[in-house]
């Protein structure tokens, strides 16, 4: 099964791996360590090489390391072809010694091997020294995002052969992206598209996977005018003008992968409507529309009160919420104190239930009976994880902390026509 293509732009690494693993009669190094950022082709290159050279190998993803039996049995299955029960490292080594041939080259590839650091020490050591313990020509390739210096435990590990997979350069990414786009258009057309696309997104992410996704998602709309016949392939300027707006909107969803093309279109249309009505709204409003649950009327007020309780210091409550408050003289000290205090940076503070209810009754316009309804709404807010309950003291004085951020609270406040900005101590 070699459905993998030859990896592009990885010639040097392929050369090194060939020299390590494919020289006939040579002994392979016991431990090879490949590292590089995600989407740099580490697994792809190694697997391609192993499959095209028909080296017997096993691939194991270390997220399954929570159970050692899975580890041993998967590797045994892939290397020997038989399903065998194996509980411990000892049995594993014995079975390998028995079933594998001394002269053949075997390779085990561990993906995300930084998880090895969370397991027992002896498992790490076993897989570093596998060829020594089994006396076979077996090599373990540990692939990871994090470099080797962070792997060193107290007992030394043998020095691995380290291969670095650097991130692709700009020209390499260009070449790779052009290859990904679907067939049907001229090479020049695709190159123009990518050349227009890259500068916008290259700041934010250089990860090939993300850029691929963005390129593919926007390609159809880029091609649309050419499909319709309105423009030819050569009218780069108009094509660019067409796609520019869409790409600019796309930048707010880079790395997030939240929407596929159709949903994206709907969202963009809805945002256009919103923008037409309210010019001042930030682009980020579109993100919150996706995630706001619909809350009942009192719950919205409760949420706002919780936000105010978390982010305003207690001593200022009197000033905000009580009608008769005296004048406050602004001394130099108080101005400086106010400047230093920025709760948005340090995070929400916990508050007792009494304070929440006091603020709640204050901001809600009509008179409300303190029925169990209110309390149950508080509990449901906790369930939705919009407020967190702190501590175990549920009998005397339960304490809470608000979990929503400012954008969310502002959105809810706008919904109920409450000016939250007036009640905040700091901006």
């Amino acid at each position: 099964m070699s459905d993998l293509d030859r990896p592009l732009c990885r010639e040097r690494q392929i050369g090194v791996l060939e020299n390590l693993l494919c020289v006939p009669g040579a002994k392979v190094p016991p431990l090879i360590f490949t590292y590089g950022l995600s989407a740099t082709g580490k697994t792809h290159t190694v697997r391609w090489l192993l499959e095209t050279r028909s080296i017997k190998h096993a691939v194991f993803h270390c997220v399954e390391l929570y159970n050692v039996r899975l580890l041993y049995e998967t590797i045994l299955l892939k290397l020997t072809g038989k399903v065998q029960r194996c509980d411990s490292a000892n049995e594993f080594i014995n079975i390998l010694k028995k079933d594998l041939h001394k002269d053949e080259v075997y390779v085990i590839l561990f993906e995300e091997s930084d998880r090895f650091r969370d397991t027992d020490l002896h498992i790490r050591q076993v897989f570093c020294r596998l060829s020594e313990l089994t006396e076979l020509n077996i090599s373990c390739i540990w692939e990871s995002k994090i470099d080797w210096t962070r792997f060193q435990p107290n007992r030394g590990l043998p020095a691995p052969f380290i291969i670095n997979f650097p991130q692709y350069t700009r020209s390499e990414i260009q070449e790779l992206l052009v290859n990904i786009l679907p067939e049907g258009r001229s090479h020049q057309f695709k190159e123009n598209y990518i050349t227009m696309l890259l500068p916008i997104f290259y700041f934010v992410t250089r990860s090939l996977r993300e850029l691929q996704h963005i390129a593919q998602v926007n390609y159809t709309s880029y091609c649309a005018p050419v499909e319709d016949g309105q423009l030819t392939e050569k009218d780069t300027k108009q094509l660019w003008f067409n796609i520019e707006q869409q790409l600019n909107k796309c930048i707010s969803t880079v790395n997030l992968r939240e929407v596929e093309t159709n949903q994206m279109k709907e969202l963009l249309e809805k945002e256009d409507e919103d923008n037409a009505i309210d010019k001042g709204s930030a682009k980020a409003a579109s993100t919150t529309t996706r995630t706001t649950p619909e809350l009942p009327y009192y719950s919205k007020f409760l949420l706002i009160s919780a936000y105010l309780a978390s982010y305003n210091p207690q001593r200022t409550d009197k000033r905000f919420f009580v009608k008769e408050h005296g004048k406050q003289r602004k001394s130099a000290h108080s101005i400086r104190a106010k400047e230093r205090y920025d709760s948005k940076l340090t995070g929400p503070k916990p508050f007792p239930l009494e304070r929440l209810l006091a603020i709640f009754y204050n901001i809600i316009e009509e008179s409300v009976n303190p029925t169990a309804n209110i309390y149950s709404q508080i509990t449901s807010l906790v369930r939705l994880q919009l407020i967190t309950a702190i501590g175990n003291d549920t009998v005397e004085q339960p304490k809470y902390r608000c979990n929503v951020d400012f954008e969310f609270a502002k959105h809810v406040a706008k919904n109920i026509k409450f000016d939250i900005q007036k009640y905040l101590y700091c901006q």
């Binding site: 050369g15 090194v16 020299n19 020289v23 006939p24 040579a26 002994k27 392979v28 016991p30 590292y35 590089g36 950022l37 740099t40 490292a89 000892n90 080594i93 014995n94 002896h122 076993v126 020294r129 060829s131 020594e132 313990l133 006396e135 995002k145 994090i146 470099d147 080797w148 210096t149 962070r150 030394g156 043998p158 020095a159 052969f161 380290i162 670095n164 650097p166 991130q167 350069t169 290259y202 700041f203 934010v204 992410t205 250089r206 990860s207 930048i251 707010s252 969803t253 880079v254 790395n255 997030l256 682009k283 980020a284 948005k344 940076l345 340090t346 995070g347 929400p348 902390r401 951020d405």
Partner: protein, 442 residues
């Protein structure tokens, strides 16, 4: 005929070595790549001491125990392998001796150790399903079942690698019983422990310690550079009689006699790490380099480039390589982190503070950068995954919003600055921000 042969040889030597470097690699890799090689050079007295000890167990039926101690890479396991290979050249050995090899990494438990001993002595059938009262009974049973004919059992050699891990088993039963048997001469056994912990006898319990014969064999790293260099020359040669071996060996000899090569090894390799394993690793890297470049001659250039391959070159290099791979947004976040750490003197920070700092930079100096919180948060999580920023240890993180968890930076000083300088097409505003915090300018 002799003369023709003589001329042929001279012609071979005069021709520039047409070595197939891949062949050389495949022959030498056996010795250099792994740890299975059975050759061992130098330190003849230790070899003869160990050989003598083993012979006494086998021939005379003496029971002995010995500990081989030394730092990593000093050749303890290599010594054991070599001695066993030497000893097994005599036929008497192969017939009579039973070898049991245990490893502290594999047998993490005394029960497992016992099962492994049973397996290596091929006594599974004999033991069958018997249940034993204690470890001592079981071991005694195993030993008695090996009795041959006239009441003397076969000599067994136990080799315990990673001996210090056996000391952490419960009650040290395996060690106690083995040493007990060695001392009480119930059967002729020889117990050889190999460990990298020099004070491993401190880990032994009193009763075990008293049964141990306190024979030590200390393996040291090579002190003098001359010995090191001779060993280096020796292991770079192929032990064959083929033409390839002859050409290669003479080439190695001539290259290693040069002063600059010798200086290179003395200053760059020997001063850093005196172990033989490092030497082997380095030679292996050199050979791989030569195969990749397609050259078949050793010279200083290829040695230098192989040095750059070892992970012993500054660890900051690997971190810098990763830093130059990040995107601009992530670099900006790291610069913001650095400035905050400078201003607040290494107090832990959270995402909000970093984001605030980043926004200040973006709004004042460099607007093409995106502002969306969710995008920046994703980059933040990327940095966390790469372990450049990690949550402050010891604080509770459950129930806290992601943005407010306190983190600390894991980057060493100065690396970020070098990385920004090396970064391809770094926007100039970012580079300027690196060198001067926004707070200092107007």
């Amino acid at each position: 005929i002799c003369l023709i042969h003589f001329y042929k040889r001279r012609m071979l030597k005069r021709r520039s070595p047409e070595l197939d470097i891949r062949e050389v690699l495949s022959k030498l890799s056996r010795r250099l790549a792994g740890n299975l090689d059975e050759s061992f050079y130098g330190q003849e007295e230790k070899v003869s001491f160990l050989l003598d000890l083993l012979k006494r167990t086998v021939d005379k039926g003496e029971s002995n125990s010995l500990l081989i101690l030394g730092p990593h890479g000093s050749g303890k396991s290599a010594l054991v392998r070599h001695v066993l290979a030497e000893a097994s050249k005599s036929d008497q050995w192969l017939e009579n001796v039973l070898l049991v090899r245990l490893n502290g990494f594999l047998q993490t438990d005394d029960k497992q150790a016992l099962k492994e001993i049973t397996r290596q002595l091929h006594l599974e059938n004999v033991v069958g399903d018997k249940v034993f009262g204690s470890f001592a009974d079981h071991l005694a049973f195993l030993l008695t079942s090996l009795k041959v004919g006239d009441k003397t059992s076969k000599p067994i050699i136990f080799i315990l690698e990673e001996f210090d891990l056996f000391c952490s088993h419960r009650n040290q039963t395996l060690l106690y019983n083995l040493f007990d048997t060695a001392q009480s001469r119930a059967a002729p056994i020889c117990v050889i422990g190999v460990s990298c912990q020099i004070d491993v006898t401190e880990l032994l319990e009193k009763r075990v310690n008293s049964r141990f014969s306190h024979r030590h064999l200390h393996m040291m790293l090579l002190e003098k550079f001359d010995d090191y260099y001779n060993l280096l020359t020796r292991i770079s040669k192929i032990d064959d009689d083929t033409d390839l071996a002859v050409t290669w060996n003479s080439h190695v000899d001539s290259v290693f006699k040069k002063k600059d090569i010798r200086d290179f090894f003395e200053k760059k390799i020997f001063t850093f790490d005196k172990t033989v394993s490092h030497m082997k690793h380095f030679l292996y890297l050199t050979l791989i380099r030569m195969v990749s470049n397609g050259q078949s001659e050793l010279n200083l250039a290829v040695l230098e480039s192989a040095l750059a391959d070892t992970h012993t070159s500054e660890s900051a290099d690997t971190i810098m390589a990763t830093l130059t791979d990040l995107s601009i947004l992530e670099i900006c976040l790291l610069i913001a982190v650095k400035h905050i750490s400078d201003i607040y003197e290494n107090e832990p920070f959270n995402f909000e503070m970093v984001y605030h700092e980043y926004l200040k930079f973006k709004r004042r100096k460099y607007s093409p950068l995106p502002e969306e919180r969710s995008v920046v948060l994703k980059c933040w999580e990327n940095l966390q995954a790469l372990e450049f920023i990690s949550p402050k240890p010891g604080i509770r993180t459950t129930g806290q919003q992601l943005e407010y968890i306190l983190h600390t930076s894991q980057l060493p000083d100065g690396v970020l600055k070098k990385a920004v300088e090396k970064y391809d097409n770094c926007p100039i505003e970012v580079a300027q921000w690196m060198s001067s915090s926004l707070h200092t300018c107007s």
